[in-house]
Subunit: 337 residues, 2 copies
DNA sequence: TTTTTTCATGACACCGGTGTCACAATAAGG
DNA sequence: CCTTATTGTGACACCGGTGTCATGAAAAAA
């Protein structure tokens, strides 16, 4: 099995390389007859263009990078799934780049990544989508990028997000409608803009329903299960104990559930628990967690599709989409007794 | 910021392209003085070779692909982490390729993947590592590959695995030592060789301790949480009810725990539950799951490192490693009352 | 010292595509 | 019927590296 190059196709079809290239790229100014002929030879010789050669000639890599730093494996795989779907549709590849760095070290790391991989573009997932320094750096280097799930919308970049504030509002309202007035809240990691957004939604729901905000009911978490355990301890030690807990993500909510169960509290009879994200764990534990589902795959897919579109043909107007988050009620929340 | 190519470096240093190339690749036959000079220019001009051009010249892509089909997100990310670690050390990139196909469709899909991405090699994770047809196809195409966590060892390929049979033996023995004699077992997906291995370990432990194997205690699962729920239902409906359940992975074990809890059974007082894999969920639920931890990252990292080594310089002797699995005891197992 | 071998280096083609431009053939305009 | 556009096509350089081979200089052997 010898390899089939554009040269073999050209000579076999009796045309020049360039003409074959034109057919490959759907360029105009090729007669229908010639196009047919060349396409037939593609089939016959089972020809696939070499993306590396193409990349060299066009100074492209056909690879986009996805940067993340997230304790939730399910979130990461959902992001990857969405990004891959978009890549496959456009004959792009996806390079994954987990990264725990911050500040200058982050910038250096990304610079090196770009240097060594010649990525055509970057997808920034939380928390990177909200790092001004990083975004400015990419802008200065003229590297196309798209932001997923960012709260910052007043800029000129591609951004697809979901409404965290509204989601948090709705789930808090759900608890309030069940009669809860003492609702503890566990914050997420301060680097993530979602942390602020979810907190805002929580407070807005309280305000809307005339419930006074109580700072003592708020705990600082960081989205990790472990931080949820610490926060849960503080909350369950409060007296009087709140009748509900809204954790900024499902892992922390699961931690609250675990600790409550260990202390022989019945959920939801003694205490209601709500999470955020609809991670797999939300339905893998008993009772299942009431939570907010976001279309993570869809967000990422749209962002990457738009990013690739932009790479191929730079757009002037930035693509901005906000998708809906949806309340999922399970067994972990119930009316206050 | 103009781009720095090998040509600019060459003219700046007053040597030829080829000499620069020699320095880049640590080739011999370059005088120390010249090497120093060129290296200094690398620094000064902040030069990074273009991997695409390099790939074209050497007919390599510096990308390896990782194929998987696994319901466990945590397993996938662990595999990725290990693979990425190895890639980064060798200036390789990782292309992820989730794939749910089987049979001819699988082969076609992989063929297309190879055609369009020009991967230098492939990492096969379960269940693909055990698909003879796929392996034969790769062999016939002379695509280097490495197998991770496969039970098949009597071939001439790169393979890094852990001892599933022994792990299953140990955890079953752990239950037996706690006084359990009626231990239900939930099998995994039949495509995975681990399914067979873990079942063997379970049976060997029974035999070793003189416990008669009872087919009615064995349920067919497929590693998914959902299948665990179905299996759990059958097992908990048995009369007499087994005093312990060993599920082939943690998701199914979590399902058993959920169902048992829903039925007001106390774990481990009324029934002990053991899993396999040490997935995050094993410690995120209450009670935490007794399970077997495998060095997934390490396995994958070794496999990929070896794969890249092989790509650079084909080895004659296949690399075979079996790593140890480790019993982790948590609260879900206890002595039978 | 002369011959042979080894070493350091560069010229040049090549990897497999794409961009630019020239050019002939055809179509449209006056 | 003779310009002037328009269209289809190919020659050729180029993208940024690496492989092959020739060559002159230095080192080793005779």
């Amino acid at each position: 099995m010898k390899k089939v190059t554009i040269n073999s196709v050209a000579s076999y079809a009796g045309v020049s390389k360039k003409t074959v290239s034109r057919v490959l790229n759907n360029e105009p100014n090729v007669s229908a007859a010639t196009r047919e002929k060349v396409l037939a030879v593609f089939k016959e010789l089972d020809y696939t263009p070499n993306p590396i050669a193409r990349g060299l000639a066009q100074n492209r890599s056909f690879i986009i990078g996805c940067i993340y730093d997230n304790p939730s494996k399910s979130y990461i795989t959902r992001v990857q799934t969405g990004a891959l779907a978009a890549c496959q549709e456009n004959n792009y590849n996806l390079l994954i780049h987990p990264c725990e760095l911050r500040g200058d070290a982050l910038i250096n790391n990304i610079e090196q990544l770009l240097q060594s991989s010649r990525l055509d573009g970057l997808v920034l997932t939380p928390p990177f989508c909200d790092f001004g320094e990083l975004v400015d750096f990419l802008k200065s280097k003229k590297i196309p990028y798209a932001r997923v799930a960012s709260a910052i919308l007043d800029d000129d970049s591609i951004s697809v997000t979901s409404n965290d504030e509204q989601g948090a509002f709705e789930i808090t309202e759900h608890l309030i409608n069940l009669g809860h007035t003492s609702i503890a809240f566990i914050k997420g990691h301060p680097d993530h803009s979602a942390t602020e957004q979810r907190f805002k939604g929580y407070r807005r729901a309280l305000t809307t329903h005339g419930i006074e905000f109580n700072e003592r009911l708020v705990e600082e978490g960081n989205f990790s299960y472990h931080s949820g355990v610490d926060s849960a301890r503080s909350i369950l030690d409060l007296s009087p104990r709140p009748t509900a807990v809204f954790a900024s993500n499902d892992y922390m909510a699961a931690a609250v559930l675990k600790l409550a169960t260990q202390r022989n509290l019945r959920v939801p009879d003694d205490i209601s628990i709500a999470g955020f994200d609809n991670a797999p764990i939300a339905r893998h534990i008993w009772p299942g967690l009431t939570t907010i589902a976001q279309p993570v795959e869809e967000m990422t897919k749209q962002a990457v599709t738009q990013l690739i579109t932009h790479i191929i043909e730079p757009q002037e107007s930035p693509y901005k989409v906000i998708l809906e988050a949806k309340l999922i009620t399970r067994e972990s929340t119930a009316a206050v007794k």
